[in-house]
Amino acid sequence: MAVISNEQRSRLARLISLLQDSPSTAAEILFNEGIGLAADRAHVVGASGVAGVGKSTLIAQMLPVLRKKGVRVVVLAIDPTSDISSGALLGDRIRMRDSYMDDGVFIRSLGTRGAPDALTVALPAIASASATFCDVVLVETAGAGQVDVAIHKFVDTFITVLAPLGDVITLMKSGQTEHAHIVAVNVRKGLSESEQFVEQARILLGNDELEDGWKRQVFAIDAKHGDGIEPLIYDGILSHRDAQKNRN
């Protein structure tokens, strides 16, 4: 099965640090490292959503499913840097611990370090660098505000993770779902309100055609129990990847 070697692992790790520590020379660093826009670079997926909605748990559940397909994954998990101390407690990786020893998985925690939009400094460069070491890059934003959707500009597939709360129309107005290729509603089993929310989201958000010709997909998932993950990956992420490839 495809793996990321020890040497690659050390190299990518240091490269990411280099990019984060001197974001202004990121392009130069990538050039020197020979990282350009290779045609076979990995598919970059971004997941955004408010704090506590279940992004890390969702990614944790996606990892074994992707790995079963032999896909090597780099996870970039962004957490907020305190604007008072400039320090950060980066704890997203705890949720992904079942994949700690997987040779095909690389998990990197990043502080926002003053970058806007719940992203981190040099994110485009870090994502490009990561994309040359694996098949899929999963970027998790810090707990985003309602309109922190800037990440969609840097990724191939943009996933918005939602809790089934409130009504879908208000949600549409908030702009959170506007650029989303995939909407993942993190439901709790057996709650009828959840089911109703998903139905509404399917009707109101599903099937909108985005710029790249992709029709937005809505998936109901249960991140805690790992339900609904396979359709999200196969019919969502991987099929979006294939659609983009065919288009190019």
Binding site: T57, R93, Y100, I107
Partner: protein, 702 residues
């Protein structure tokens, strides 16, 4: 109970007052006092059992001397058991090693450095046979301190009895088996919370039907207190845990009187002498009231809060360790004045490791001296009626009740645990206590007052010898496990595990299937994994911040911060769950501008190294409290070399003996290493120096 109020000599005392009253007022006044006494205090052996569960207490039966023991292989612990019985111990209590407590086999990578370290290693029924070889388990009561996989060990014990032809109904003893306090405090868990509780109820149900003399659960406040709770929190969470088990057993369809008389409690006895006495009295009253008024149980034996007490481990000091003997004696006295049914006295050297035989003997003698020489056993609840003790008892009960109500408002203990409410409260109190020690508000002789610069760490030679003897345990136990596995029928094992999985997914009681599975000599690890395949696993998925204010953090850091965002991975060695230290550090380092990465509990050194590489950290802070530090740090270095990242600074600390510290610092080049009493500001300073020396970052005024 007398109808008059003669019980405290009050009638005579109040005579002048009573004389002023007319007949009716006099009657209603004496009635009021009498009812107040009955409701609030009661005679010994009477509801609400404030003064003890038996009318005669220690005049009828002295507390059982039940010393917790275990180390090495089952055969080593068997020898220790025989010593205890020879010294006059009246019950046995088994300590298992950490891998065993976590349901892991001795040969798993995560078990490395911990096999036989702080308890007996038990992998299969064969080890259980060794553990109780030549010990009459039909006659003596045996306690097994194990929680997450308790049902598996209970199944082993029952299988052992069956093999020896002893009927299960003759077996007396206790499994600690209190899973809720594991999620709350001790962190030795296996399954998700609801499944953990279900397994406890399975054992309650099975014992009620088959082993009526067995105490399936010992509802424990000890670990809650040792994790940093105060007396009120200890009381509240313990009683709330007990009430949760009762309600779940009732949901299962059991009659309360079938199982409640076999519930027992386990409390800590800490330093605050009168508060600890009052705590045990308040516990009895709270439990009796909850059982009678909450669950409507009239059976007296179902209302009893039977107490096992252990002196406080965290109150002991590494400095001048012989002083611990005095601390233990006072705590033992408090336990007896509080009316405990059985007592474990700690050995003075427990701060370093499981006790040496010499220290164990002193601990037992301490109990024997209090029991036999002080003559306090001649009086029943000698402090009853003391204004001080009664009023502390009232206060503790009232405050604990408030906390129990908070738990109920959160939706009961399972929901509370999942929202980390008790975990956070305990953590906050622990941090508060630590500050009191650092500021000197809480006095510890030889540590923050009456310090003696010449004081040595005590004579640790015996201990060093004992520790040296442990180095071989792991290899011996792994060989033992392999030989057991070679002899068993793999076909039987597979069949046993298959049917266990089937029963587990059906939701039925798993005890009979567990007994069948252990009888095939399936290992604890195999059985735990089979159940986890069906039920899932539990992991604490968040860092619980101690919530220090920025001012408190600044007091420690003196306003210093790192010159750049230093990246630091904080990790634990092995299966140990002592996280308080690293969580405080996480907050502290973050406030200094570091990016702190936490990998979670129960990571192998392979996992820690891989995480450190991916995160490209500047330093790893590895904390170890249980197991061999040289094994942990050594393995971590080796793993980092595989990625050519042995340049990463390895620091950390925990319980590290002087000899090991020398090896680590001088031979492996690990450090700085911090021992448990190191003040936080010193950690910050020395860590800053180490990072500066490696030219990673400097401490600057910020």
């Amino acid at each position: 109970m007398p109808e008059d109020i003669g019980f405290l000599g009050l009638e005579e005392f109040l005579e002048p007052l009573l004389g002023m009253l007319d007949e009716d007022s006099r009657k209603s006044f004496t009635k009021f006092l009498s009812e107040f006494y009955k409701g609030q205090i009661g005679d010994p052996g009477e509801f609400p059992f404030t003064r003890g569960i038996y009318p005669t207490m220690y005049r009828g039966r002295k507390p059982t001397i039940r010393q917790f023991a275990g180390h090495g292989l089952a055969t080593d612990t068997n020898d220790r058991f025989k010593t205890i019985l020879r010294l006059g111990g009246t019950g046995l209590s088994t300590a298992f090693d950490l891998p065993t407590l976590m349901g892991r086999d001795s040969n798993e990578p995560i078990s490395e450095g911990q096999v036989g370290w702080d308890g007996a290693a038990v992998d299969t029924l064969a080890d259980m046979e060794d553990l109780f070889d030549d010990i009459p388990i039909g006659e003596i009561t045996v306690s097994m301190t194990v929680n997450g996989p308790a049902a598996i060990f209970l199944a082993m014990y029952f299988a052992l009895a069956k093999k020896r032809g002893i009927p299960l109904e003759d077996l007396g003893g206790t499994t600690q088996n209190d899973i809720l306090k594991e999620y709350i405090a001790q962190k030795e868990w296996l399954f998700p919370v609801d499944k953990g509780v279900k397994l406890v109820v399975d054992t309650m149900e099975f014992c009620a039907e088959n082993a009526p003399k067995w105490h399936p659960v010992s509802i424990s406040g000890y670990h809650i207190r040792e994790a940093g709770a105060n007396a009120v929190q200890e009381l509240a969470y313990t009683i709330a845990d007990g009430a949760w088990y009762v309600s779940k057993a009732i949901e299962r369809g059991m009659e309360v009187t079938e199982f409640a008389p076999r519930l027992s409690f386990f409390f800590d006895v800490h330093n605050n002498f009168f508060e600890e006495i009052a705590k045990l009295r308040a516990a009895r009253r709270l439990w009796a009231r909850i059982m009678r008024e909450g669950f409507g149980v009239t059976d007296v034996r179902s209302q009893w809060c039977r107490i096992h007490a252990q002196t406080s481990g965290v109150s002991l000091t590494r400095k001048e360790p012989m002083n611990n003997i005095v601390r233990v004696a006072l705590q033992c006295l408090a336990a007896m004045l509080g009316g405990a049914q059985s007592i474990h006295t700690n050995s003075y050297d427990e701060v370093f490791s499981t006790p040496t035989e010499k220290a164990l003997k002193i601990a037992m003698r301490t109990q024997q001296i209090v029991q036999e020489e002080s003559e306090i056993t001649n009086w029943v609840d000698p402090l009853g009626g003391s204004w001080l003790v009664e009023s502390i008892t009232d206060r503790l009960e009232r405050d604990a009740w408030e906390e129990i109500e908070s738990i109920e408002r959160l939706g009961g203990m399972e929901a509370a645990v999942e929202s980390y409410y008790p975990q956070r409260s305990i953590h906050a109190n622990a941090v508060h206590d630590q500050k009191d020690v650092e500021s000197g508000d809480r006095k510890i002789v030889g540590v923050n007052i009456f310090q003696d610069s010449d004081a040595d760490e005590g004579n640790l030679e015996d201990l060093m010898e004992e520790i040296a003897g442990r180095r071989g345990f792991e290899q011996r136990q792994i060989e033992r496990l392999e030989s057991v596995k070679a002899k068993r029928s793999d076909e039987d094992v597979v069949r046993g595990l298959d049917s266990l999985r089937e029963v587990a997914s059906s939701g039925e009681n798993v005890m009979p299937a567990l007994i069948d599975a252990v009888s095939t000599y399936a290992t604890v690890g195999e059985i735990s994994k089979a159940l986890q395949q069906v039920w899932g696993e539990y992991q604490e998925r968040d860092v619980i911040s101690p919530g220090l204010s920025s001012q408190e953090l600044r007091n420690v850091t003196q306003g210093k911060r790192f010159s750049k965002p230093v990246r630091i991975l904080l990790a634990k060695g092995g299966l140990d769950g002592h996280t308080r230290g690293i969580w405080i550090l996480a907050d502290l380092l973050r406030s200094m501008g570091a990016e702190v990465i936490y990998a979670g509990l129960h990571c192998s050194m392979q996992e820690v190294a891989k995480a450190a590489v991916e995160e490209d950290v500047d330093a790893i802070g590895l904390s170890c409290h249980i197991g061999s530090p040289t094994v942990f740090y050594g393995r971590l270095q080796e793993e980092l070399k595989k990625y050519e990242r042995d340049d990463i600074l390895i620091t950390g600390g925990g319980i590290i003996l002087p000899d090991d510290k020398i090896v680590l610092e001088e031979q492996l080049g690990v450090g700085p290493l911090f021992l448990p009493d190191t003040p936080l500001h010193e950690i910050v300073e020395r860590l800053g120096e180490a990072l500066a020396k490696k030219k990673i970052a400097f401490l600057v005024d910020g």
